[in-house]
């Protein structure tokens, strides 16, 4: 089922959670709503589910207005951030709940329920703990049971609120790959909320970036990562080096330094420029190019090295550069050493 939201606004007292949000979620896609906490992503998810009524705007399921449809009838599967498993019921009863709540004439027989619940538990690879209670499960197991329970009613849409938020790093990584595989098997239109950019970029077909109740950018993970539409998106999607300066005829003037740049801005315009750690190069101090800086720390992990630097004459200013290991060795960097930074690529936005 495809979902569309049109001009959704939602306020909580003086706080604007959603400010005129319009989005389309095509059938069968796995979409991530990504943003910092308080950006409105969870509110949007709850509005789509029907758990929160919007102040204005419409939610459309398959092109039909669902605003008047009760949560019960929306046929959404919702996985809550803290799972919300029924603590007094066994795993089996939790998963069977949705089927047992169906109106009598639609309700499957108890034998059929048993068969379907066990099939779902097999799908989430937890058929061996059907008799346990939620408090006897690990975080990752609860998460998968919550998912099985949501899938039991054969939802047309699957909504997940910070599905991996409460898990430790290793389990998170496993589960999100598993979720991706599961989605490829089931092809249910799915939306998940996260504040973790890595998670969104790795799992989703498409990423919606939200900030202060508004949509900043929508696109494939590659598109939003490589072509961020706004400074916020650039900043949010990974480590970044920021330069503030003014456009001149020959380049970008940042303090004393002149950086090469080809963005279509008229001379004299105040701008903000960004470069990812791997888009900066370190050259010898005598070369006279780029920004002067001083090496603070060199960290070598695996194939690449991360160099942390301090702006020359600006002790509070930090830079981060990622270099191939060999290049780092060739430069023979040591803490305190003066060098210069040259961006291979700069992404420039007008300063406000």
């Amino acid at each position: 089922m495809s979902i569309e939201v049109r001009h959704i606004c939602k306020r909580f007292g003086a706080f604007t959670a959603l400010d005129d949000v319009s989005l389309a979620f095509p059938e069968g896609e796995l979409v991530a709503l990504l943003g910092p906490s308080g950006c409105g992503k969870t509110t949007l998810l709850r509005v789509i589910a029907g758990l929160e009524p919007p102040d204005s705007g419409q939610v459309l399921f398959d092109g039909e207005d669902a605003s008047g449809t009760h949560v019960r009838e929306r046929r959404v599967g919702f996985v809550f951030q803290h799972y919300a498993l029924f603590r007094h019921m066994s795993v089996f009863d939790n998963v069977a709940f949705g089927l047992r709540m169906k109106p009598r004439r639609e309700r499957p027989s108890e034998a059929e329920i048993r068969r379907r619940v066990m099939a779902l538990l097999e799908l989430v690879q937890l058929d061996w703990i059907a008799d346990r209670f939620p408090s006897q499960l690990s975080g990752g197991q609860r998460q998968r049971i919550a998912l099985a329970r949501a899938l039991a009613v054969e939802p047309k849409v699957l909504l997940l609120d910070e599905p991996f938020g409460a898990l430790d790093a290793k389990v998170r990584k496993e589960l999100r790959r598993w979720l991706r595989r599961l989605h490829d098997e089931l092809h249910v239109t799915s939306i998940f909320v996260t504040h973790d950019q890595e998670e969104a970029l790795e799992v989703a077909d498409r990423v919606v970036l939200m900030h202060r109740g508004r949509v900043e950018q929508v696109g494939t993970p590659e598109a939003v990562y490589h072509h961020p539409a706004t400074p916020f998106v650039y900043d949010f999607l990974g480590s970044v080096n920021r330069f503030e300066g003014r456009v001149e005829e020959t380049g970008l003037r940042v303090g004393e330094a002149l950086l090469p740049h080809e963005a279509p801005f008229p001379a004299g315009e105040e701008v903000v420029a960004f470069a990812r750690p791997f888009e900066l190069d370190i050259v010898a101090a005598e070369s006279g190019q780029g920004m002067p800086a001083r090496v603070a720390r060199v960290l070598v992990f695996g194939a690449s090295a991360r160099v942390e630097l301090e702006g020359e004459g600006e002790p509070g200013r930090r830079f981060e550069v990622e270099l191939p290991r060999e290049r780092c060795a060739a430069l023979a960097l040591s803490p305190g050493q003066p060098v210069r930074l040259v961006p291979a690529r700069l992404r420039v936005f007008a300063a406000h």
């Binding site: 758990l51 949560v71 019960r72 959404v76 599967g77 949705g98 709540m101 209670f133």
Partner: protein
């Protein structure tokens, strides 16, 4: 192979030195505190309770039983059980509704409601009784109307039931509000998303989560309903065999210097209270056991 020789050096058992844990008090402090608590408990709780039973049986079992099966005593027992049988279900329903509203929704005047629920705790029962007199008495607000329709509230059974309901108002809600607040709304939301109606959500999700707290609240309500004296005394009119509950009956007997009968009836009240406490204890253990089975007390 020699077991000790197989152990690495640092695991060879060394002579244990008795070390007092740094957080524990010296033994004499602990003993003194326990003795003090027990002495206090014995002197102020156990002794008076024992005295009631001793006095009740002073003139033998025959007199004791005679005092209990005497018609006025039986009428008082019946009235007491009736008042409790009405007050407990009423306050059960009200308590669940109020706790549900307070814990799961936000609305104007919520803090006020929460404070007002406690009013019967903080106010003297005599004042509560007087309030009823002012409302339903002959010259009270509804007095004239009631008299015109020949409805008798004061100095009759309805007044006693009202007074009992009033003083036992907060117990169920007080037990449930913190419990429900701690549990939040997520499980109910999950149930509704899965297609459960409001009633079935309450029945299958909300109620099972609070059932032990609810039973506990009911038991407390019941204990107070049967033991209430002040408010009931004001509205009762003390008509023997008609508007006296067990506590009032005890007072009447005592004032008439029928000490053995007074203590016999008092012992019956005490027994009702003891049964309540035993049931409460059993329920608490059952609740702990259920929680243990689900692994939440591990």
């Amino acid at each position: 192979m020699d077991a000790v020789a197989a152990l690495p050096i640092h695991e060879i058992p060394v002579r244990r030195i008795a070390v007092r844990p740094v957080t524990a008090e010296p033994a004499w402090v602990r003993r003194a505190l326990i003795a003090l608590a027990l002495a206090f408990f014995g002197l102020f709780l156990l002794l008076p309770l024992a005295a009631v039973f001793v006095e009740a049986l002073r003139k033998g079992w025959a007199v004791y039983l005679a005092a209990l099966v005497e018609p006025d005593a039986l009428a008082a027992l019946k009235l007491t059980l009736l008042a409790a049988a009405i007050a407990v279900p009423l306050n059960l329903v009200f308590g669940v509704a109020a706790a549900w509203a307070i814990a799961k929704f936000s609305f104007r005047g919520k803090a006020l409601l929460l404070t007002l629920i406690d009013l019967p705790f903080s106010i003297s029962p005599v004042v509560a009784g007087l309030g009823l007199v002012l409302l339903f008495g002959g010259s009270g607000w509804f007095g004239a109307w009631l008299a015109a329709h020949e409805v008798k509230v004061l100095f009759a059974v309805p007044g006693i039931v009202l007074a009992t309901v009033l003083v036992t108002f907060p117990f169920v809600a007080r037990e449930l509000v913190p419990l429900m607040q701690a549990q939040g709304r997520e499980e109910e939301e999950a149930a509704v998303v899965l297609g459960a109606s409001g009633w079935r959500t309450f029945w299958h999700v909300t109620l099972p989560n609070v059932k032990w707290g609810l039973l506990y609240g009911v038991i407390l309500t019941n204990a107070r309903a049967m033991g209430e004296f002040g408010a009931v005394s004001v509205v009762s009119g003390h008509i023997r065999g008609q508007t006296t509950t067990l506590p009032l009956h005890v007072e009447i007997l005592y004032n008439e210097y029928q000490f053995s009968a007074a203590f016999a009836v008092a012992s019956l009240l005490a027994l009702l209270a003891l049964v309540t406490l035993v049931v409460k204890h059993a329920i608490e253990r059952r609740g702990d056991f259920a929680a243990l089975r689900r692994g939440s007390l591990k």
